[in-house]
Structure formats: structure tokens, C-alpha cells
């Protein structure tokens, strides 16, 4: 199995476009996953009985094969990027929801009470006290969800999307390893770079942790 370097040289534009498309799908999914998880986690955190239910649902969704989710979405959103993003978002929830709930749990009750005693309103407390304190745990979830999404995007190649995943089906049909190798390497690179970027983001977002360290 040899790599046809001239193919790579001739396809830098295609490879770049696919990489950007790949990243866009994964990041959109994580973004929507974070927003949904923040909302659901607040509910799960405040209303205890719902907690097990919501976490249970996200766990069960995680056991459904991703390809099946994409196909089952076809009547709803067709052969579009939307289908890919919804499918991927479903998978981010298992990590994001659990970590967000745990993050909120990790905020000491005393801190919450102090904010209340100072007359801070609940929504403000949530946004300025609880979320920032929960951030390290949430970010750990975001990192896992991002890497996972980047690796999963390619499954959407079976419904004509999939970013770098298109290189896999193309190489498969034509018995041509070069695009497949390029796709695998770029996917891993993308995951490593995205993960490093998130570490940097977390560093910037949590200055108080730096001082302590």
C-alpha cells in the first residue's frame, strides 16, 4: 500500500475544503450540544427526580448506531448538513450533559448561599457564579465531545456528507488507499489541534485557576 504523493499535491484545495467542512460539522454539533446541555443540566440540577431520567435518555441515545440516526433523520431534514449536525449533537449529549450536571454539583452550597445572601438573583447567580465555577468540569466534557465528534463526522459519508469521510468511501470504491490515508491523518490532526485549542480556551477563561497554580 503506497501513498500517491502527487495525488495529495494535486488535491490540496479539496483536502482543505473537506477539512474545513469536517471541522464545521463537529464544532456546530458541540456548540449545540453545549447549549442544550447547559439548559438541561440546570433542570436536572434543580429538579432532582428529572436528573436520572435525562442522564438515562442521553445514555440510551449513545447506544444507537450513528449511521442509523442519520438515516432516520432523512424524512425530517433530508440529505443536508442539518441532518449531520443533529445526529452528531445527539452523541455529544452523553458526555456534555453528565459533565455539566457534575460541574454544577461541584459548586459548594455555601458559595450559592453566599450569593443569595448578597441579594444576587438566581439567574445572575447561575451565570456569574455557578457556570464559571463549573467550567473546568464542563470543559473536560467539551474536550471529549469535540474529539469524539471529529472522529464521528465521517460516518455521515453514507448520506453524502461527512467531510473527510468522503475520502473513505471514495478510496473504498476505487481501491485507492491514498485518499483514505489522507483522511485518517487529517482527522487525527484536526482532533489534536482542536483539543489543544480548547486547552488554551480554558486557560484564558479560568484566570483564577492559573493564579492558584
Amino acid at each position: 500500500m503506497t501513498i500517491d504523493w502527487s495525488w495529495i499535491g494535486d488535491h490540496t484545495y479539496d483536502l482543505t475544503t473537506l477539512t474545513v467542512s469536517h471541522l464545521q460539522a463537529a464544532l456546530s454539533a458541540v456548540l449545540f450540544g453545549v447549549l442544550i446541555s447547559l439548559a438541561l443540566a440546570v433542570v436536572a440540577h434543580r429538579i432532582r427526580p428529572l436528573r436520572g431520567f435525562l442522564l438515562g435518555i442521553s445514555n440510551v441515545l449513545f447506544t444507537i448506531p450513528s449511521i442509523a440516526i442519520f438515516v432516520l433523520l432523512l424524512p425530517v431534514s433530508g440529505l443536508t448538513r442539518t441532518t449531520t449536525v443533529i445526529g452528531l449533537t445527539v452523541y455529544t449529549l452523553v458526555v456534555l450533559l453528565r459533565n455539566t450536571v457534575e460541574g454544577l454539583d461541584s459548586v459548594p452550597a455555601k458559595t450559592r448561599e453566599a450569593a443569595k445572601a448578597m441579594g444576587t438573583r438566581p439567574l445572575r447567580t447561575l451565570l456569574t457564579v455557578e457556570f464559571p465555577l463549573a467550567l473546568p468540569v464542563i470543559m473536560a466534557g467539551v474536550r471529549i465531545a469535540t474529539v469524539m465528534s471529529i472522529s464521528l463526522v465521517s460516518v455521515a459519508t453514507y448520506i453524502g456528507d461527512g467531510g473527510l469521510g468522503q475520502l473513505f468511501t471514495d478510496g473504498f470504491q476505487r481501491n485507492f488507499p491514498t485518499p483514505v490515508i489522507a483522511g485518517v491523518v487529517l482527522t487525527i490532526l484536526l482532533a489534536v489541534v482542536a483539543d489543544a485549542a480548547l486547552v488554551a480556551v480554558q486557560y484564558v477563561l479560568t484566570p483564577w485557576r492559573r493564579r492558584r497554580a
Binding site: M1, V71, G165, G171
Partner: protein, 220 residues
């Protein structure tokens, strides 16, 4: 969607659907075989690795980062790559599934080992225990709950992903998903998806019951 679930009932309960080489019974057995074999191989690789790293404290950085690389590996790409390199066999599927499962097993085993109280290890050594005795009689039992968590996580992911076998002409419950996609038979796709989810949940429950049985003598 409602229509789909209504038809699903018929699909799942029709006798013909359960028999023959494309029947649910056969596909279920294939799916279990792929999943269990892959998870066992992954455990045979991941457990010793995690234990070794946790026990010696060496190579932890490397292992954790490799595990994170592993999580980024695109399953479809890996299957195709191994297929192109070695031709049509179950090898591409097993390579991809094992690559998926090993990181979860290594990281959780390592995490379990590092969570063992250093004082306990010191005490064990103080009593004259050798390295391997400390590992097998002290660290391993204490790390077992997290190790089991890693195995369960790996198994769930493998069960969901074993669907990919159907892409390269093999069986398993993925057959319904891929055939249903090609035929745009969404009931079949849903049927396959539900069966995969049920298998994953049932296996997970079995493992958690086993875990509870193993640790029934331990007080929290």
C-alpha cells in the same frame, strides 16, 4: 415518526423476521460475536497496559495522549484502510473495534490505579509485599470498580459501532441499518437501531450486576 414505530412493532414480532440467515436471531448472534470478541481482544491489550502504567507510573503521559489519539481515529477510515491493505475479511472490522475500545480501557484502568491511596501501597510494601503482590493483591482489587467502568464503556461503544461490519459485506444487526438505507426502508433501519440499543443496554446491565456481585462483600 408515529407511523414508523407502529410498523416497527410488526417488524419485530413477525415470525419470518426472526428466522433464516437474514433473521434477527442469526444477526443478533453475529453482532454479539463481533462485539464480544473485539472487547475481549481490547481488554487483553488495554488491561495489562493500564495496569503496568498505573503500577510503575511510567509512560503515563504517553499512554494518555495515545488514548486520546485513539479516540480521534475515524472508524470508517480505519475499516477501509485495513480492507484496502489486506483484502476482505473480518480483520478490518476487528481492528477498528479494538482501536475504539482500547483507549477507554487503558485510561480507566490507569485512573483506577492512580486513585489507590499511596499510603495503602506503602503499608503493603512495609509488610514485605513484593511489587507484583502489591499490584495483584492490593492495587488491582481497589482499582477494579473503575476498571469495570472502562470495560462497560468500551463494550457499549463496540456494540453500537459493530454496525460497520455490514458496510464491508458482513452480518450483525448493522445489516438492517445498511440494507434499510439502500432500500430506504426506515422501519428496517429503526428495527436494527433499536435492537443494537437493547443489546448494549442489556450487556451493560449484565456487567453492572456482575460488578455488584463481585464486590458484594465490600463496604463503601
Amino acid at each position: 415518526m408515529y407511523e414508523l414505530f407502529k410498523h416497527l412493532g410488526g417488524w419485530l414480532t413477525s415470525g419470518a423476521q426472526w428466522s433464516g440467515s437474514d433473521g434477527i436471531t442469526h444477526r443478533l448472534a453475529e453482532h454479539l460475536q463481533y462485539s464480544l470478541v473485539a472487547t475481549l481482544i481490547a481488554a487483553a491489550i488495554g488491561l495489562p497496559l493500564g495496569l503496568l502504567i498505573g503500577h510503575t507510573g511510567k509512560g503515563a503521559f504517553l499512554a494518555i495522549n495515545l488514548a486520546s489519539f485513539g479516540r480521534a481515529l475515524p472508524t470508517v477510515g480505519l475499516v477501509v484502510l485495513v480492507f484496502l491493505a489486506g483484502g476482505l475479511s473480518m480483520l478490518p472490522v476487528y481492528v477498528a473495534l479494538v482501536a475504539l475500545a482500547v483507549p477507554a480501557i487503558v485510561t480507566n484502568t490507569y485512573a483506577g490505579m492512580t486513585a489507590v491511596d499511596p499510603d495503602v501501597k506503602d503499608a503493603a510494601r512495609g509488610q514485605g509485599m513484593r511489587g507484583h503482590q502489591v499490584l495483584f493483591q492490593v492495587e488491582l482489587p481497589l482499582a477494579l470498580p473503575l476498571i469495570m467502568t472502562g470495560l462497560r464503556l468500551a463494550l457499549i461503544q463496540v456494540v453500537a459501532t459493530a454496525t460497520i461490519a455490514a458496510y464491508v459485506s458482513f452480518g450483525g444487526l448493522g445489516r438492517y441499518v445498511f440494507d434499510g438505507l439502500a432500500q430506504r426502508d426506515l422501519v428496517q433501519v429503526l428495527g436494527g437501531a433499536v435492537l443494537v440499543a437493547v443489546v448494549a443496554v442489556v450487556l451493560d446491565l449484565l456487567l453492572s450486576t456482575l460488578q455488584r456481585f463481585l464486590f458484594r462483600h465490600r463496604t463503601a
